[in-house]
């Protein structure tokens, strides 16, 4: 394989933090330049290799020796061309490579023009330094119930393209997360890109989250929504919630409450209540279950109102 840097264990072992502790467990670093090479490394590693996109989750997890991340090799995917693409196609769809950092996404003219609502989460995750590295792919593949971009992606009906030893497959993003920090992408597979289909006429979307502070916090609850509005009626709608279940949840009841209904406070409230009902949060230091359910209602209502405004529907 070409272009693979293998750093010896001893070298990494010597990278110390100022407490004399190792910043990292001794792990190998590889940087393949093609999808095929990356998949091969993953497949040959018996589940002990991890793709490294921005590393803003992975490196932190390795540093605190998170037992769920038992990596002996990190596979840096930033040198693979397909994973760095940003392509607006003739059909009106947009492909964003899995290694594209957030700052390139929210500064991209096609994104700004055609998919501005994805900026809601892209510009929310971390701060400027984090956004210089972090990716949508990493946010999705990390599979945190609180991942801010996931409801935003689900609301955009994004399709994930995944490469594995048996070739390429496509998964709707709502089917990627299966549980807390668990995904349907196998350890020998690689997310190549995210495809945003043409959203159609009268489209508007929004993602908002609630945090007690205004920065440096994990969503107590989050709501990503989208609507298509025609002649004062919802022709399509999606509501996806973060942080209120073991995985982000697509609220079917909210779509039902909206589609075919006129755009008014009543239909919006019905959708908000469906979101509240769909949520199955836990009580913890970030908020009680009851409070989180309440927030789902509030956030869904607020996000829908913004999405409707963006759709030009109100």
């Amino acid at each position: 394989m070409s272009g693979i840097i293998v750093v010896t264990n001893n070298f990494v072992r010597d990278i110390k933090d100022n407490q004399g502790g190792s910043l990292l467990k001794w792990i190998d670093y590889q940087a393949p330049e093609s999808v095929a090479d990356a998949v091969k490394i993953l497949a040959d590693s018996d589940g002990k290799a991890r793709p490294l996109a921005g590393g803003t989750d992975l490196i932190v997890q390795l540093r605190v020796k998170d037992p769920r991340v038992n990596a002996e090799t990190v596979v840096d995917i930033k040198k693979i061309p397909e994973l760095n693409q940003m392509d607006y196609d003739k059909s009106g769809g947009l492909t964003i490579g899995a290694a594209v950092p957030l700052h390139l996404i929210y500064n991209n003219p096609d994104v700004i023009k055609h998919f501005p609502a994805i900026i809601d989460s892209a510009s929310l995750i971390g701060g400027t330094p984090i956004q210089g590295r972090a990716t949508l792919g990493g946010n999705l593949c990390n599979g945190a119930p609180s991942g801010d971009s996931i409801p935003n992606l689900v609301a955009h009906k994004v399709i994930a393209t995944v490469a594995g030893p048996n070739g390429i497959r496509e998964i709707p993003v709502e089917d990627v997360c299966t549980g807390p920090r668990q995904t349907s992408i196998d350890s020998n597979e690689l997310l190549v890109s995210l495809y945003f289909p043409n959203p159609g006429e009268g489209f508007g979307a929004n993602y908002i989250r609630f945090i007690p502070r205004n920065e440096m916090d994990i969503a107590v609850a989050g709501a990503g929504v989208s609507v298509n509005i025609s002649n004062g009626k919802f022709v399509d709608a999606r509501v996806c919630l973060a942080s209120v279940a073991p995985k982000p949840i697509l609220v079917e009841g909210a779509s039902k409450a909206l589609v075919g209904q006129p755009v008014n406070d009543e239909s919006i409230q019905n959708a908000a209540e469906a979101a509240r009902e769909a949520a199955s949060p836990i009580s913890d230091m970030r908020g009680t279950a009851e409070y989180r359910k309440h927030l789902c209602e509030v956030l869904t209502r607020r996000a829908l109102n913004t999405a409707i405004e963006r759709a030009g529907g109100n």
Partner: protein, 760 residues
């Protein structure tokens, strides 16, 4: 930059004929700090350095049946393991730690648990290994057998009949006498002035309420750390971040039963303390490990260890009853305060008692204080320790009283304000103080006079800290270019190096930049007490003043000998020595400095002081906030802090302290808390989940410096580091009430709890 139609930072000066005092020079340590060159404790390195880690209790309360360290000792890379058994036996005694005092036996028990662990995070054993990785792995090889005991987490639980007892040998000190009763209440004390029963009879309105606060941490950015080297000649050298290098030295001397002269403590730069870096934690463990290994050993806590294994400030229960006549004259007040000491006696309830009623001239007052042990980390000082808890109760009760009386809350306070000559309920009689001036400038401030924004609430409150004096030393040597080297022993947490240097510069008539201040180790300067109690600028500044006077006197004497005149005929003003009678005789300090060596040698001034004229400081807040009615989230829209500095030596530093104290108070109020599990474990041991406010959660904090000179200091200085954290908690609570009509009596005011209040 935002622009305002008023001046956001005002200094209300009563006196201004100083050259250096009252100006804003660049801090001497500034460049090193902003360029990352400054050396902090965790930066310390040495050849052969070993890294230490500490095994901590997973249980809130348990007997230690046995500790087996053999497997850990056998691990490759492990050099030594120590436990409480490695401390020498020594008789118990009371140790003064500056703002705190503690029993030697308790301090030792807190550093390494002997028979029992008393909180999750309680240190049990220390390991030194070639690196922290190995040390950490070795921790899991130490086998400790526990017998888990039921625990108590709050004063209510701890004071209940039949509560599990932390210390079988602790009997309650009841109003000064040993009651002989074994209990978690270490002490119950009272301060009485007048007769409250009589006072309440005269009251037309009475407010009575209970308030509860929870454990919060200072949140300094640098975790505790220390490096120890026990040399072959028996001398122990410590490098650490501390608020008092002499406290570290003296505590270690007691703990290790060795003379102070055998211990040298070098304070590094310090990444915050706020009172929390007065006690010692890791230094003695590093020392014992170094003694065993013969090499330097460094221990640096993690954030989790800092939360679980250092000293936060307590949760508390405060009951207030206060009555007044229709005209707003307070006739009686009672404060009942129980504070969690943590695992060992010594909560700040005593200090709270000195502050709770301090701003007011009360005829009849009663203060009951309870110092209660619970299964949480031993509390430590935190910026005006105890006073914010007390104010959260009393300053809310006063606003409630004002509402009942139909009075403006500031007018009610002014009507009862303490002034020079007022005797506090806890005894002391005030010298000149600025409570009245602070309240008056609050009432006149553009913020208070402005219209509230639609939907927002406004609150006010004031707070007090008494400040302390204590010992300080300073040496000043004149260089041949006319600059001076100033050495002192107050570790610099808030810019004190510069404010101390400025006082020497003022006396010598030179610029602040011509003074090179250094904070030196315990072998190099005379005894200097902690940087705490807002004493440093006051007391070490006084030492610098005296040492500079000594230099000045010697300059005059030297000039007299050069000119062959009577020194009584000479004077030194603005750095120029001149004759009072002969206008030809004139020389700058720089000209004199250049000839020192030829005219008899160098000049060094020195002073050791223990000043008594401490002046307490009052701080007031005006707060506007709005509440998201659907989520309960509070946004602080406008915040003004007004404090009496006596004399603001360096106004930017004073403003910085006022803003910093305000921010910590806001955090305490809004989201900070030790979120405890049912098993007594803190769940939110990271700065992600221990929610201190970020810059985005705060408005600009406007300041007004009031200057009511302290007659007990040559420049009128009062300490200003602490009083500013006191008023935010009640001021915000009062603003919440103004906004939504609910009295919040339980901290923190997190969004969920505010939403509950909005619903009811």
């Amino acid at each position: 930059m935002t622009t305002t139609d008023y001046d956001p930072n005002v200094v209300l000066s009563t006196e201004n004929d100083f050259k250096v005092v009252g100006t804003r020079p660049v801090r001497h340590d500034g460049v090193d700090k902003v360029t990352g060159r400054a050396i902090y404790g965790a930066d310390y390195d040495a050849s052969g350095l070993l890294h230490g880690k500490i095994l901590r209790s997973p249980h809130a309360h348990a007997k230690i049946i046995s500790i087996d360290t053999s497997k850990a000792e056998a691990l490759d890379g492990v050099h030594a393991v120590v436990t409480a058994a490695d401390f020498p036996e020594a008789a118990d005694k009371i140790m003064e730690l500056g703002e705190d005092e503690t029993k030697l036996r308790d301090l030792r028990g807190n550093i390494l648990a002997r028979d029992k662990v008393l909180y999750v995070g309680h240190a049990i054993a220390g390991i030194a290994a070639t690196n922290a990785h190995v040390a950490e792995e070795a921790l899991s090889l130490i086998e400790v057998e526990f017998e888990v005991l039921p625990s108590v987490m709050t004063t209510d639980e701890a004071m209940a009949d039949g509560a599990p007892i932390l210390h079988e040998d602790q009997t309650t000190e009841e109003l000064g006498d040993d009651s002989g009763v074994v209990s978690n209440v270490a002490k119950h004390f009272q301060h009485i002035k007048g007769d409250i029963a009589e006072g309440f009879k005269q009251a037309d309105v009475i407010v009575e309420r209970e308030y509860n606060t929870v454990t919060v941490h200072q949140g300094y950015i640098a975790p505790h750390n220390g490096t120890a080297f026990w040399s072959a000649d028996g001398r122990l050298h410590i490098w650490c971040e501390t608020q008092g290098s002499f406290v570290v030295r003296d505590s270690l001397a007691d703990l290790l039963d060795m003379p102070v002269s055998m211990i040298r403590v070098t304070p590094t730069e310090i990444g915050g303390g706020f009172g929390g870096k007065i006690p010692i934690y890791v230094e003695p463990v590093a020392a014992l490990l170094s003694k065993k290994t013969g090499t330097p050993v460094k221990i640096v806590m993690t954030r989790k260890e800092t939360f679980e294994g250092s000293g936060p400030t307590p949760g508390s229960k405060i009951k207030i009853k206060v009555g007044a006549t229709k005209e707003g004259k307070i006739t009686a007040a009672h404060a009942w305060m129980a504070m969690e000491a943590g695992a060992y006696a010594g909560s700040p309830v005593g200090a709270a008692a000195q502050c709770v009623f301090a701003a007011y001239d009360l005829e009849n007052g009663l203060i009951d204080g309870f110092d209660v042990v619970v299964n949480k980390p031993k509390t430590a000082a935190y910026r005006a320790p105890g006073s914010p808890n007390a104010a959260f109760g009393f300053e809310q009760a006063l606003n409630e009283l004002a509402e009942k009386l139909g009075m403006d809350p500031i007018d009610l306070r002014l009507k009862n304000v303490a002034t020079e000559g007022t005797r506090r309920v806890d005894g002391p009689v005030f010298q000149r103080i600025g409570a009245k001036e602070v309240l008056e400038s609050m009432r006149e401030h553009a913020h208070y006079l402005s219209e509230k924004q639609e939907g927002s609430g406004r609150g006010v409150a004031i707070g007090f800290w008494f400040n302390i004096g204590f010992d300080s030393a300073c040496n000043i040597a004149l260089n041949k270019d006319g600059t001076v080297n100033l050495t002192e022993g107050s570790t610099d947490v808030g810019g004190s190096r510069t404010s101390i240097a400025m006082q020497a510069a003022e006396v010598l008539g030179i610029s602040a930049e011509d003074v090179r201040p250094s904070v030196v180790d315990t072998d190099t300067i005379g005894f200097t007490a902690v940087t705490g109690g807002s004493r440093t600028t006051f007391a070490t500044g006084w030492a610098a003043y005296e040492a500079a006077q000594d230099v000045k006197k010697q300059c005059i004497t030297r000039a007299a000998s050069i000119w062959d005149v009577d020194p009584d005929h000479l004077q030194m003003e603005d750095g120029i020595i001149s004759s009072k009678t002969d206008s030809e005789l004139k020389m700058t300090i720089k000209e004199l400095a250049a000839q020192l060596s030829d005219t008899g040698g160098g000049i060094t001034g020195r002073a050791s002081v223990k000043p008594r004229g401490v002046g307490g400081s009052f701080c007031g807040n005006i707060v506007d906030l709005s509440i998201d009615q659907e989520t309960g989230k509070i946004t602080i829209d406008r915040f003004t802090a007004i404090q009496d500095a006596g004399k603001a030596l360096h106004p930017s530093y004073v403003e910085g302290q006022m803003q910093g104290g305000s921010v910590q108070g806001i955090g305490w109020e809004l989201n900070e808390e030790y979120f405890m599990s049912d098993e007594g474990k803190m769940n939110n041991t990271s700065l992600l989940d221990y929610r201190m406010p970020t810059a985005l959660d705060l408005p600009m904090i406007d300041t007004v410096i009031v200057e009511v000179a302290n007659p007990g200091h040559p420049f009128g200085v009062r300490g200003i580091g602490e009083a500013n954290i006191v008023p935010p908690t009640p001021a915000i609570a009062n603003a919440v009430y103004d906004s939504c009509g609910s009295r919040i009596t339980q901290l923190p005011m997190s969004p969920g709890s505010i939403l509950e209040a909005l619903k009811s």
